[in-house]
């Protein structure tokens, strides 16, 4: 018995390397997409988990675009095939998802993610394999700094922070502001930093600077400190799940000054959680379905017909990212990595539903921001601010 067991172990130890090397030639040589009947595009998104509405929206927008492109004959005579992986809104999962998309599905490009922390996790892998990656909605500047294969179709946080600082100072006339940011999120910390820099240099005062960790439910300690500092307003550059609870708890603690934040607020789940407490608060984002341009209206109509809900910014950005990719493949005359990269980098005045997209030298899109307010439980358009 004992020797049998020993033999099995020896056999296993000996067999594993053989099996691995036996497999490796087929998996390490990337199959060229020339002979495949479709053009494979990978997507990783937070379809479930704490930022689930982000991933679902961007995925629905992307899917709508891919289907529209295929209905119109595909790209270079081939249909697009979208392969989507769920990263569960969890750190660690994007790397798994993107490695799978590149290694086993041999995708020509990767679309994703909304949350900057997760895009930052996937970007080095795409860069390493020289597979172009387009993030629909990650606004932290570091995302595209990873390398020359990483692009985005949205504006970045230095711009968003500036927009909200100017808006707070000049439109809301807030002189002193408290900041409450999420230490676990690259997005939140970056946006908070750019907001503070601009707000202070433009003559405002930051009277309290507090943190929380994404996933927290109790913010009463931080809000009590903020209330004691007596600010005119509170800047909360976080994601919608926490923002709703923060709004509720601040009203419960008798903190009644306006709150405002960034595109992380944009979710159909924000108002159901925060409810009445969010009335009269503001946030900046990428897109408003109230935009009257025919292109936006036909997108809103198609999206609403298919999914039974009005598209939000993440859906619009997902839609734009897929159309931009298809356009770049067309311009490159194929889906080969370096050519596709050059075509993406050369994008100028590409008409998207979230505005005209031109890639700057950092591979970021320079685009206007939209400010929305929450009134009667709905998002209402306030104004558009050009870069």
């Amino acid at each position: 018995m004992k020797s049998n067991f020993f033999l099995t172990v020896v056999w296993l130890v000996a067999a594993v390397p053989v099996l691995l090397t036996g497999c490796s030639p087929s998996s390490s040589s990337p199959s060229t997409s020339q002979d495949s009947p479709t053009i494979k595009i990978g997507e990783f998104a937070s379809l479930t988990g704490s930022e689930a509405t982000f991933g679902q929206s961007s995925h629905q927008g992307t899917q709508l675009a891919v289907d529209a492109i295929n209905a119109a004959g595909g790209v270079l005579g081939k249909p697009l095939e979208l392969i989507t992986e769920d990263d569960l809104s969890q750190a660690g999962q994007p790397a798994v998802a993107v490695r799978k998309l590149i290694a086993s599905d041999s995708v020509v490009a990767v679309l994703g993610e909304v949350a900057s922390s997760r895009s930052l996790e996937a970007a080095p892998i795409c860069q390493e394999y020289k597979v172009p990656m387009i993030s629909p909605a990650s606004t932290n500047p570091r995302v595209t700094q990873v390398g020359d294969y990483i692009f985005r179709v949205c504006f970045i946080d230095p711009f968003q922070g500036t927009v909200m600082a100017d808006f707070a100072l000049n439109t809301l006339h807030l002189k002193s502001v408290a900041v409450l940011s999420d230490v676990r999120s690259d997005y939140s910390l970056g946006l908070a930093r750019f907001f503070k820099e601009r707000f202070v240099s433009a003559g405002g005062r930051i009277v309290a600077d507090e943190n929380y960790s994404g996933g927290d439910k109790d913010f009463s300690a931080q809000l009590t400190s903020i209330k004691a500092a007596n600010p005119d307003g509170v800047f909360v550059p976080g994601y919608y799940t926490e923002v709703g609870l923060i709004a509720l708890q601040s009203r419960q603690l008798g903190l009644s000054v306006p709150m405002f934040g960034g595109d992380g607020w944009e979710s159909s789940s924000l108002v159901p959680i925060g409810g009445q407490a969010l009335e009269g608060d503001y946030f900046s984002t990428h897109f408003s379905p109230d935009d009257s341009s025919p292109m936006v209206q036909s997108f809103v109509k198609a999206y609403t017909q298919r999914y039974g809900q009005i598209p939000d910014a993440m859906a619009a950005l997902g839609y734009d990212s897929a159309f931009l990719l298809a356009d770049a493949i067309k311009r490159a005359g194929g889906a080969e990595g370096s050519k596709l990269r050059d075509a993406l980098a050369a994008t100028t005045n590409f008409p998207g539903v979230t505005g005209s997209i031109t890639m700057d030298s950092h591979r970021d899109a320079s685009k206007p921001a939209v400010i929305l307010t929450i009134s009667g439980g709905h998002f209402k358009y306030v104004k558009t601010i050009a870069p």
Partner: protein, 301 residues
């Protein structure tokens, strides 16, 4: 001074919910010498039971109201007690006579199963928990804000602690529980139906978790299938801090963790609140290895 009192109130409210979760942990451990890692997930299921039961209750009773909230609480506790019984019957009982480590790992498996099954079945997006208690308002006493929900939590935690003590110390079943805790084999020889006692212990622990889940959701009305992980972990720490197996110890541990965390977040650094709260735990355990109220136990050789 007012800010300090406000922070103390915040800490007390947070701590009493942790205390309630910790009570269930510590009771199951006290009787079975087994850490039920799925306790935090039963807490989550309790909140979801409340979420799905509330619309049904709303047809018969006005919601939000105290009576309606109590019915929702009771039904959720019942639902989780049944789930707890099922988990005990199918996951733990077959392993009763296996090494303790096997059961511990199974508990982690059950926990992961409930979390991922929950994401699949209930959806991963956070849901808004319905309003159960009327907003009797906030009381402002000399600048101090206290809301009715916080008072209800503190009150319910106190009542549950007393009820649990009564059950364990003064009822027939409680005596059987203590007998099983002391020596399961001897208890069985004396005619105690150990299977029934252990099942009852699990049902009671699960009901407590459900009560904590519903109260948590009333205070922090955003629920999702992973909401039980962090409170479960902190409540476990609270139970260890107070002396695991000891009921008042769990309540005390919960309050200490809640207040420390709030004070650290309010006055020192909200970034390091968990780190400092856990550092306090380490220091206390260095001085008193069996917890604040725990009895020193010598292993029989």
């Amino acid at each position: 001074m007012i800010e300090f009192l406000q922070q103390l109130t915040n800490g007390l409210a947070l701590g009493s919910i942790l205390a309630l979760v910790a009570l269930g942990y510590t009771m199951v451990y006290g009787i079975l010498r087994f850490i039920n890692f799925a306790h935090g997930d039963l807490f989550m299921l309790g909140a979801f039971a409340g979420y799905y039961v509330a619309p049904w209750v709303a047809r018969a009773l006005p919601l939000p109201s105290l009576s309606g909230a109590l019915v929702v609480l009771a039904v959720s506790m019942l639902v989780c007690a049944i789930i707890g019984l099922l988990i005990e019957r199918f996951a733990y009982r077959p392993l009763r006579n296996q090494p303790r480590l096997t059961m511990l790992i199974t508990a982690i498996g059950v926990s992961l199963f409930l979390e991922n099954g929950g994401q699949w079945l209930l959806g991963a997006a956070p849901k808004r928990f319905p309003l159960l208690l009327p907003a009797w308002g906030q009381w402002k006493i000399a600048g101090l804000t206290m809301n009715s929900n916080q008072c209800v939590v503190i009150l319910v935690t106190t009542l549950m602690l007393l009820a649990l003590r009564f059950i364990v110390l003064n009822t027939r079943m409680g005596r059987a529980m203590r007998a099983v805790a002391c020596n399961p084999d001897a208890a069985a020889l004396m005619g105690v139906d150990t299977n029934r006692v252990i099942a009852f212990t699990f049902a009671l622990g699960s009901a407590l978790a459900a009560a904590a889940g519903v109260l948590f959701a009333i205070n922090y009305p955003s629920i999702d299938p992973l909401m039980g992980i962090l409170p479960g972990l902190k409540a476990f720490v609270a139970a260890v801090l107070g002396g695991i197996g000891n009921l008042p110890g769990a309540a005390l541990g919960g309050l200490i963790i809640g207040i420390t965390e709030t004070m650290v977040a309010g006055y020192i650094s909200s970034t390091y609140k968990d780190a400092i709260a856990f550092a306090v735990l380490i220091i206390i355990l260095l001085v008193r290895p069996s917890g604040l109220l725990g009895k020193r136990e010598n292993d029989k050789v």
